[in-house]
């Protein structure tokens, strides 16, 4: 009898969990709805301007896509390449979580468009010379893939799942690469303009995705409580630690090279990031809470499930700082030749100072509420019965 069926106990099926998640999700939607209304009907565009045209919404979009794709890539890499057996049955819940991230991401980025109702033009009149076109097409394709994959899981079409994996992995890598390139190709923004950016995005995606896999494993694994479950959590924690270390080394190398080069536009963006008015968001939220604490928990608390869970929660929830710290400093500093441009013609939308306003936060809250509500409903009505069936079958195998 394999270890997997041996300890097969399905625990996360309590009605209370569903109700609580649903209430939290709906509350977030209610709290954020005003922001969405202001954007859609009153033309409010948050604190964005013409000199910092992208901000919180684009960053949250990137963050959610990193998680969505990172989870899928991480799952298949862990399962098929690194042969982590204990996450075998986690596929459907990961695909469902990815779909929820994706829906939320699309909703939030839709809010960012000046003319959201013209988004269809990107399909009908697409210009494939633009990275954004590729992003839109690939993301739509990815959405279809995920939905088909979920359906295949639900109906136990193993052959189909295998074939989808074939496409899913390259499509995911390509999607992340395209989003990295979307920023990387912009020569006008020296802070973004690096050929390594797509690679950095892929690594970031894997870190965020692995963190979420660990969290989903701890919360939803059908083998919850068993020895295999604990062993798998420790293994996932170890992978997460290594992924985080690789990411840290990359970030450090970037910091050192940029500082040493001292190319004004890049170095100034870095200075703004580390010592500007929002220094605390980098040093305290991102580095201390989001990186060093999880790393310490993963190293010294690796035997405790609580520590692993805390590490995953801290890492995943603060990982939004990574895209924020890539996107905003890249925009918040003009070319030295036009350094005074913000003083040439005064308006609040012609400024390099940017901090998201309430409308932006509320739209994000709405988007996250949509994700949580969809997940809760999806879990309750589809995955719950799926896992119950697995548990029943495992029980039958045991008897």
């Amino acid at each position: 009898m394999s270890g997997i069926t041996e300890n097969f106990s399905y625990r996360f099926n309590r009605r209370a969990d569903f109700i609580i998640s649903l209430i939290v999700g709906l509350l977030a939607i209610a709290a954020g709805a005003g922001g969405v209304w202001k954007v859609v009907f009153a033309g409010d565009h948050g604190a964005l301007g013409s000199y910092v045209p992208w901000g919180l919404w684009v960053s949250v979009y990137v963050y959610l896509v990193w998680m969505e794709v990172g989870m899928i890539l991480g799952y298949y890499a862990l399962k098929h390449v690194l042969k982590v057996k204990g996450i075998d049955k986690l596929g459907p819940v990961i695909v469902m979580a990815a779909i929820c991230c994706l829906l939320s991401a699309l909703m939030i980025i839709g809010m960012d468009l000046g003319h959201p109702f013209r988004a269809w033009r990107a399909f009908v009149f697409a210009d494939f010379g633009s990275m954004m076109t590729w992003m839109i097409w690939m993301h739509s394709f990815y959405l279809i893939l995920l939905i088909v994959e979920f359906w295949a899981y639900h109906n136990d079409y193993e052959e189909l799942i295998k074939w989808i994996n074939w496409v899913n992995i390259p499509a995911g890598v390509a999607l992340i690469g395209v989003i990295g390139s979307l920023f990387g190709v912009i020569a006008a923004r020296p802070y973004w303009n690096a050929s390594m950016l797509p690679m950095a995005f892929t690594v970031s995606s894997l870190i965020a995705g692995t963190g979420l896999i660990l969290l989903l494993h701890l919360l939803f694994s059908p083998q919850s409580g068993s020895e295999v479950y604990k062993q798998t959590a420790r293994e996932l924690g170890r992978f997460l630690m290594w992924a985080l270390l690789v990411g840290l080394v990359g970030a450090l190398a970037n910091l050192l090279i940029t500082t040493y080069q001292n190319v004004p536009a890049k170095a100034e963006a870095m200075r703004l990031l580390l010592f500007g008015p929002y220094w605390w968001s980098v040093w305290i939220v991102h580095i201390l809470i989001g990186t060093l604490t999880p790393l310490a928990l993963l190293i010294w608390g690796r035997h405790s499930l609580r520590a692993l869970g805390a590490a995953a929660v801290l890492l995943v929830s603060t990982f939004i700082m990574v895209p924020l710290n890539i996107i905003i400093p890249g925009l918040a500093y003009p070319s030295p030749d036009l350094a005074n441009i913000a003083h040439a013609f005064k308006h609040e939308r012609l400024s390099f100072d940017y901090f998201p306003d309430m409308t932006e936060w509320r739209v994000v809250l709405f988007g996250l509420g949509v994700a949580l509500t969809t997940f809760a409903i999806g879990y309750h009505f589809w995955l719950d019965s799926y896992y119950r069936r697995l548990a029943r079958e495992a029980g039958a195998a045991l008897s």
């Binding site: 000199y51 390259p170 005074n340 939308r349």
Partner: protein
């Protein structure tokens, strides 16, 4: 005794080999995608000029005598008529700005705002002021910054819907009806020459201060704000909702294309009190602008980016 038949070991559905295959697929897709992007990137100009027709028969100011001391505006006006009589693809509009003459009065900025009825927060031609040196040895440098109408505009290939493109005469334009307002082009312009129209008005909520109701706010916006501008030779009234173009669009300087089409110089060139802004056809060897860029020391902004601006600064 017959051994019970062992079930064949189940092949893992997605092993390392499949993973490598998937990797190969990524590579192949990347190569195909990359080739498509590069082909598109190198395709260059959009061949069709804008508009139903292009006015090619303008009077060449035959009655205005050419005097040695004629105002440069008169000369540029005459040259404009000659250029407009040529097919669109044979014109090459450039702007020359003599920074030695610029006094930083902002008349060009304001002329542009008035001509294009730019709402608050939208600007096509700010004058950037920079203090050089240390007191008491200081100098102020003025750099008017219209759109550079780059020969190789980085704002064009990034547009996902082909809403921004370069005309055969070299002017990069935005098709307001197509633009989805993603602002990618704004991030791609190294000159910060694109601004987003956030739908502001000057008078919404402002006290009217008239007669017996001095505290009353203007209802909606004042009527004059609703008058259309005529960018790209079309009337764009600001009467629609919050999402009626050009609200929500990326906007930029277009060398007053709508004025050129009716034989008028760009507004900034005519309002410049220092006569520091020159405009004309660089394909005309006798034009004033050709003369200026060949006889003076000229610079372009951020030349290292390879955008090849068509706005030249005499320094």
């Amino acid at each position: 005794m017959n051994e019970p038949e062992q079930p064949a070991p189940k092949k893992p559905s997605f092993d390392r080999r499949n993973f490598l295959r998937a990797g190969t697929l990524v590579g192949a897709a990347a190569i195909i995608g990359g080739t498509a992007i590069m082909r598109r990137r190198r395709a260059g100009l959009t061949p069709d000029p804008i508009g139903e027709e292009t006015i090619r028969e303008l009077p060449g100011l035959p009655d205005v005598p050419i005097a040695d001391d004629e105002d440069v505006l008169v000369r540029m006006q005459r040259e404009l008529a000659i250029a407009m009589a040529k097919p669109v693809e044979e014109r090459r509009w450039i702007m020359v700005i003599d920074t030695r003459k610029c006094v930083g009065c902002d008349a060009c900025t304001i002329g542009c705002v008035a001509e294009n009825k730019l709402p608050p927060g939208v600007v096509y031609r700010p004058v950037v002021k920079e203090e050089i040196g240390a007191f008491p040895n200081i100098q102020i440098k003025f750099t008017p910054r219209p759109c550079m109408q780059c020969e190789n505009p980085p704002c064009v290939p990034v547009c996902p819907v082909n809403a921004t493109w370069r005309r055969p005469d070299g002017i990069t334009i935005v098709d307001y009806d197509k633009c989805i307002g993603c602002r990618y082009c704004i991030t791609a312009c190294p000159y910060m020459a694109r601004t987003s129209d956030f739908g502001y008005s000057y008078t919404a909520g402002v006290a009217e201060g008239a007669g017996d109701a001095p505290d009353r706010a203007v209802e909606g916006t004042a009527p004059w704000e609703k008058l259309p501008n005529y960018e790209y030779a079309k009337a764009w009234a600001r009467t629609g909702g919050k999402k009626a173009s050009p609200k929500g669009n990326a906007r930029k300087c277009h060398f007053c294309l709508h004025r050129l089409e009716v034989g008028q110089l760009p507004m900034c060139a005519t309002t410049c009190i220092g006569r520091a802004t020159y405009f004309g056809d660089a394909n005309d060897p006798d034009s004033l602008v050709t003369e200026l860029i060949t006889k003076n020391r000229v610079q372009t902004l951020l030349p290292h980016l390879g955008t090849q601006p068509r706005v030249y600064y005499i320094v």
